[in-house]
Amino acid sequence: MSDLPEIIRFRSFYSWESLNDIYSSIIRTMEFFLLIVPGINFYKKDFPTIVTYCMTRNRRRSKWYFKKVFTVACFSVVSVVVYSCTSLAVLIFSKTLSISQVTDLIRIELCMNLLLFLYLVFFQLYLNTLSLLIKQSWILPIGVITSIIIALDLYRVQIAENIKIVLNPMAHMFFPLHVECSGFLGVDDPVIHNFTFISSVIYFLILIAVLVLLGYKIFQSLDLGLIKEE
């Protein structure tokens, strides 16, 4: 008998049922926050040096800014690949799967990876944009607090009886995956019908576009000459 439904169930469980109480919601949220910790300081890294010696060579601030946004996206790709390879390797080594089963599993994985990538890009851009306005030393605590708020809100969304509009980014990462897994298993879950893979991708793209534009506006308004090394 194929192990695949069981694995899909496991994946589904991993993405959904494991969020059933506040503590596990917080743990899952913090797990993803840890993936972005090395990248929350991209904008401000070597900032005084870069402002003086790189930016005057770039001629335009926008060029520097969009390079940073691109780097954030690249870093998120690396995080997703590392995370996904690790979790997939654990799965494959713990179960004996045929190539066709792995192919089916990869479809689910790709779904999750794309959403995880978008979530990580969003979170990194959010913290990096904030870092343009506040002290660098505040970024880490703010990231932790935001993660906890997201986790608590995720729990609220899960126990709510009627879900219409959800803005929680973690929900937009996990719920469509659960829909995918449920569809694969032939299970119908009416509670989360509103969440489709496409709608969540669009939601993240809008969120990311807003953050990129907001960061650009803030960066353009900075008096770079007055920024001191922290």
Binding site: Y53, C54, R59, S62, D223
Partner: protein, 215 residues
């Protein structure tokens, strides 16, 4: 025609006037000195010229190119200003290579030649963090001149340099002028400046209070 036009340039932060209605016309291929004690506004004026400072009033035009407060810097400029931090874990060569990669205008040989010009060893494996203050200053000077910019903006360039370093600096500045560069240098002391500069401006409280020279 002037190379740099500074028109009624002011910068006010809170209730403090940092730059006070500065008007200057600077010609191409000259060396200009700006002297004044700490806090007189030299560095801020340089930052404004570089487009790193949003002016409260006025405008700066370099080679017919207006320096926008938000998104535009001088076309060809070498900078040595206030911050002498480069990447601490890299050697002199690697630091310059990173900076040169932005414009992609130099090859490895040219980078090595620039490092030699300022009296450092391009083959040295010593990282920037292990440099003395004088060596750091030399390397910062090297990054400013390496791409043969039309404008050199040098804030307190002789700080931390020994006598030999200062002489090498002066010699290199004269060579840069011969090449065609326009050079702005600031210092808190006039000592040794008169012989180097075509014109010297004295600054105090964000204003130009005096100028000396033959222009």
């Amino acid at each position: 025609m002037e190379f740099i036009e500074i028109k009624n340039c002011s910068k006010i932060i809170g209730d403090k006037v940092i730059l006070d209605s500065i008007n200057l016309n600077l010609h191409k291929n000259q060396i200009y000195g700006f002297i004044g004690r700490n806090g007189s506004g030299k560095t801020m004026l340089f930052k404004a010229i570089l487009g790193l400072l949003k002016l409260s009033e006025g405008e700066i035009i370099i080679d017919s190119h207006k320096i926008e407060t938000g998104d535009s810097y001088p076309v060809s400029v070498g900078v040595m200003i206030e911050n002498n931090n480069l990447w601490s874990y890299l050697t002199a060569f690697d630091n310059l290579k990173i900076l040169a990669s932005i414009k992609k205008s130099l090859n490895d040989h040219e980078i090595e030649e620039t490092i030699k010009r300022v009296g450092l060893d391009p083959k040295s494996k010593k990282t920037y963090s292990k440099f003395s203050l004088g060596m750091k200053q030399r390397l910062i000077f090297a990054q400013a001149i390496m791409e043969k910019p039309e404008l050199l903006v040098l804030d307190e360039p002789t700080n931390a340099l020994d006598k030999e370093g200062v002489e090498l600096f002066k010699k290199t500045i004269k060579q840069e002028k011969e090449r065609g560069a326009t050079i702005l240098i600031s210092s808190h002391s006039i000592e040794g400046f008169n012989e180097l500069c075509d014109r010297v401006f004295e600054m105090e409280d964000g204003r130009i209070i005096n100028s000396e020279g033959n222009l």
